[in-house]
């Protein structure tokens, strides 16, 4: 399962099967195909190897890791670090937080981005340039860390999920990709729907969105991955560890196992094992769920970006 998922991330294309279909490929084309296959296989190996290596290290005994003997296959199979991390109830609390934050924040982001992008795609909208300008302005300038913190705090969002979900809800890059996609839809479709009696909201919900599954799926992926990996907003605005996402939990765990904080203290044996494999275990535990999402949205992912990009 992991291997499949990893392959999906590396973006390896389906094998090209041009042969035996109608026109006979030229010699040059066949050479090109061969070279292509070799290069792409190399890319797959190069991208896959580090990940397989990480998985192998996460399952190995620390002695073999220190001796530099772990490559593709785990040596001295050892699950202690997994056990150590998974046995902590705070890990599960934080993992649940991550799932909740990701789902809620992604839903909010998708709704807001879709609405904004759809409005901006309408050429007859008055003040459209200004609205685009307002969005683009935030790509280049931000209020700064402390003003943001003061703002979020005085809005009463500190220590709530809204501090994570609301301030980052619209990503301007995603917004512009989506706007370009909506602009590419033929106006005639919407005119026909209007003639048939749909109002603006009906057009958006019944005509435009069903035709935009590709771009929405892409955006879901972009947003979900971003929220899944994010820790900075949570670190800024959340003062209680039972609210933290798992990214902070694991980041802190690594810092604790490797930091100078332990100087002079002698750690327990399980912590020693943990130190050697902790980074690998962390990477596996945090990437696994999001990797599993990729295969399901990947086909939209490819098509969606193409559509948006060409017309944009």
């Amino acid at each position: 399962m992991t291997i499949d998922a990893a392959e999906a991330t590396s973006g390896s294309p389906r094998p090209v099967s041009g042969r035996g279909r109608g026109v006979r490929p030229t010699r040059g084309y066949r050479v090109f195909q061969a070279v292509n296959a070799v290069v792409l296989t190399a890319v797959v190996v190069v991208t896959l190897y580090p990940f397989v290596n990480v998985v192998a290290r996460s399952l190995s005994d620390e002695g073999y890791i220190i001796a530099g003997q772990v490559n593709l296959v785990p040596r001295g199979f050892n699950l202690d670090t997994y056990r150590l991390v998974l046995a902590d109830s705070m890990f599960w609390t934080n993992y649940r937080n991550t799932v909740v934050y990701t789902v809620v924040a992604t839903v909010i982001s998708i709704v807001l981005t879709t609405c904004y992008a759809y409005v901006l795609s309408k050429k007859h909208l008055r003040g459209r340039t200004a609205l685009v300008g307002i969005a683009v302005f935030t790509m280049f300038f931000s209020g700064g860390l402390i003003p943001n913190y003061v703002l979020v705090t005085s809005l009463g969002m500190k220590n709530t999920i809204w501090a994570i979900a609301v301030p980052n809800a619209i990503n301007v890059f995603n917004l512009l990709v989506m706007k370009a996609f909506f602009e590419s839809l033929p106006d005639e479709l919407e005119e026909a729907a209007a003639v048939d009696g749909l109002n603006t909201y009906g057009i958006l919900l019944r005509i435009v969105l069903p035709l935009s599954k590709a771009i929405v799926a892409t955006m879901v992926l972009f947003y979900a991955v971003a929220f899944w990996n994010s820790w900075f907003a949570a670190f800024l605005y959340l003062d209680r560890q039972d609210l933290w996402p798992v990214t902070i939990y694991l980041r802190n765990l690594i810092a604790g196992a490797t930091g100078a904080e332990n100087v002079g203290a002698i750690a327990e044996a399980d912590e020693v094992q943990a130190e050697a494999t902790l980074k690998s275990v962390t990477i596996v535990l945090t990437t696994l769920p999001i990797l599993l999402v990729y295969p399901f949205v990947q086909r939209y992912f490819v098509r969606g970006v193409m559509l948006g990009a060409v017309k944009g």
Partner: protein, 547 residues
């Protein structure tokens, strides 16, 4: 991602800057700094040395809490309930992950949202906040802290504390204090190889050279010394322990631009001194005779550990933890007959000294806390918990009969069902995880018996040797003004980079020592003299105003 990392990098600077603008407005008029009549709620009128602090009414203080993953914060710790019972104090922690503690601290202070008590602040980290007025000049309130005053005078800590004074003659941090310096870092050496060659552990750097030579003679194809801790800067530990052995202030990961020249009574530039040259010549001798692995200056810790584990080297930088957690388990897997131990810090031309600082990370107080009606009670509480013998013992060992018992000599000893750092591996409960004691936020410093309470016999032996050596002299105070500090940091970066670069070139033999004067001239062209001039002026000024 770029955006985010930029934000992270800019945090500290922005925080300090904003702290200046946002909090300066509400800083106090110094004339009423001493009138505490409005701030005595909950305070004890007869608080003093040897007295248990108990607030006369229930009080609560907010505290920034560095959440350590090995003992994550829990509400049901005996530590909290016992604090309530003994001191009538409730602490409300603002939990911050240890991984990014300093960044959050900057942010909260900058945003004017800092808790009253800000612990885990290392000496000199407070400098950035002083001008903002967000941090309380605690030296004004030492009379509320009898235990701290007592320790400063009994342990002769005045020079160390004076080193923390700012340009206004006040200090802004309540540092953790040790009676004896605690030097943890030294070198570890394969003692079975020493035995095999009929050698004793080297006591000086010259003896180390002899020992390495003998090892090389017996094992010609190994580099007997291959060092670690070279990221991000080369040979962080090795350069530092060498520099202090040559009488300098520090180098490597403890890089110090200036060292105090006691005979000339002025500061000199560490990287341009004759002593620095001599220590580089020593390193160069080791490298050119193939005794020290040239990769020592660039390799990762893992590479250095692998060489040691695989018998490709016999000497490596170490602290107590590295020996027990890294080197011995590594060797046990590859070579069960191997033995390795930390040797007492080798002695250099500066003679027997213990270079460790006697100051530890400590506590800053938010300037806002001064307006609290419980301010006096808070200072008394801090004095009791962090500086009284009873408070320190409580924070470290816990409650007698529950987490520890006393042996015949009255020394504390872990209760049989309580474990910490592997001392009672079978015990069902953990002093840190389950009770909240021996917590890095609350427990540090103190008398050597307390500091070394959990040390192994081996480490206690090491400390005994080092504690017999006198502590290094502390350089006199030379606080810079804000503008000077800004100017200094502009000069410091190029100077430091150049010293690092030349250090590597000289040590590895890429640059001949005949070029030493040229190198010093290069430092001059990077404003070394102006920099020294500024530091020496700051020193004179301080002597004049506050000396």
């Amino acid at each position: 991602m770029l955006h985010r990392s930029w934000r992270r990098a800019a945090t500290a600077a922005v925080a300090a800057l904003l702290a200046a603008t946002s909090v300066a407005a509400c800083s106090e008029d110094p004339s009423d700094a001493k009138d505490l009549s409005e701030n005595r709620a909950g305070a004890m009128s007869d608080y003093g040395i040897g007295k248990q602090f108990t607030a006369s009414e229930p009080v609560s203080f907010s505290i920034l809490y560095n959440n350590h993953p090995n003992y994550p914060l829990r509400d049901d710790w005996l530590f909290w309930s016992e604090l309530k019972a003994r001191a009538n104090v409730t602490l409300t922690p603002v939990a911050v992950p240890l991984s990014d503690y300093e960044q959050k601290r900057s942010l909260l202070i900058g945003a004017g949202d800092a808790p009253m008590i800000i612990p885990k602040t290392y000496p000199s980290q407070e400098d950035a906040y002083v001008s903002s007025g967000a941090i309380l000049p605690v030296s004004d309130y030492l009379d509320l802290m009898p235990n701290l005053q007592d320790k400063i005078s009994r342990w002769n800590l005045k020079p160390e504390i004076d080193g923390r004074r700012q340009e206004d003659g006040k200090f802004y941090i309540l540092p953790g204090v040790h009676e004896k310096p605690w030097q943890d870092y030294s070198l570890a050496i394969r003692t079975d190889i020493l035995d095999e060659l009929n050698l004793t552990a080297p006591k000086t750097w010259d003896e180390l050279y002899t020992v390495l030579k003998a090892m090389k003679a017996r094992y010609p194809d190994v580099f007997p010394f291959s060092d670690r801790w070279s990221k991000p800067n080369p040979a962080g530990n090795l350069l530092n322990i060498l520099a202090v052995s040559y009488g300098l202030q520090g180098a490597g990961w403890n890089f110090q631009h200036t060292s105090w020249d006691a005979t000339a009574k002025k500061f000199v530039y560490t990287g341009a001194t004759e002593q620095y040259k001599q220590m580089l010549q020593y390193l160069n001798k080791l490298v050119s005779e193939k005794l020290l692995d040239p990769e020592s200056f660039t390799q990762t810790d893992d590479q250095a550990r692998q060489k040691l584990a695989n018998g490709k080297s016999f000497v490596i930088s170490a602290n107590a933890q590295a020996v027990v957690n890294d080197y011995r388990p590594d060797l046990a897997k590859t070579n069960p007959t191997a033995k390795i131990s930390k040797i007492p810090l080798p002695v250099g031309p500066a003679g027997e000294i213990n270079p460790a600082s006697r100051l530890e990370n400590g506590v800053m107080i938010s300037a806002k806390a001064r307006d609290s009606k419980n301010f006096v009670a808070m200072m008394q509480f801090i004095d009791w918990l962090w500086y009284s013998d009873a408070g320190q013992e409580f924070a470290k060992w816990g409650v007698e009969g529950k987490t520890f018992v006393r042996d015949a000599a009255g020394m504390p000893k872990l209760a049989p069902d309580v474990n910490v750092i592997g001392l009672n591996p079978k015990a069902p409960k953990h002093l840190q995880k389950d009770f909240g004691f021996y917590n890095g936020v609350f427990a540090y410093g103190g008398k050597p018996e307390l500091v070394q309470g959990f040390f192994s016999a081996e480490e206690q032996e090491f400390q005994k040797v080092l504690n017999a050596r006198p502590p290094t002299a502390v350089p006199p105070p030379h606080p810079l003004t804000d503008e000077e500090r800004e100017q200094a940091s502009l000069w410091e970066t190029p100077l430091r980079d150049h010293v690092y670069q030349a250090t590597l070139q000289f040590a590895l033999g890429q640059r001949d020592f005949a070029q030493w004067d040229a190198y010093v001239a290069e430092l001059r062209s990077k404003n070394m003299d102006s920099y020294l001039d500024m530091v020496n002026k700051a020193h004179d000024r301080y002597q004049k105003d506050h000396g």
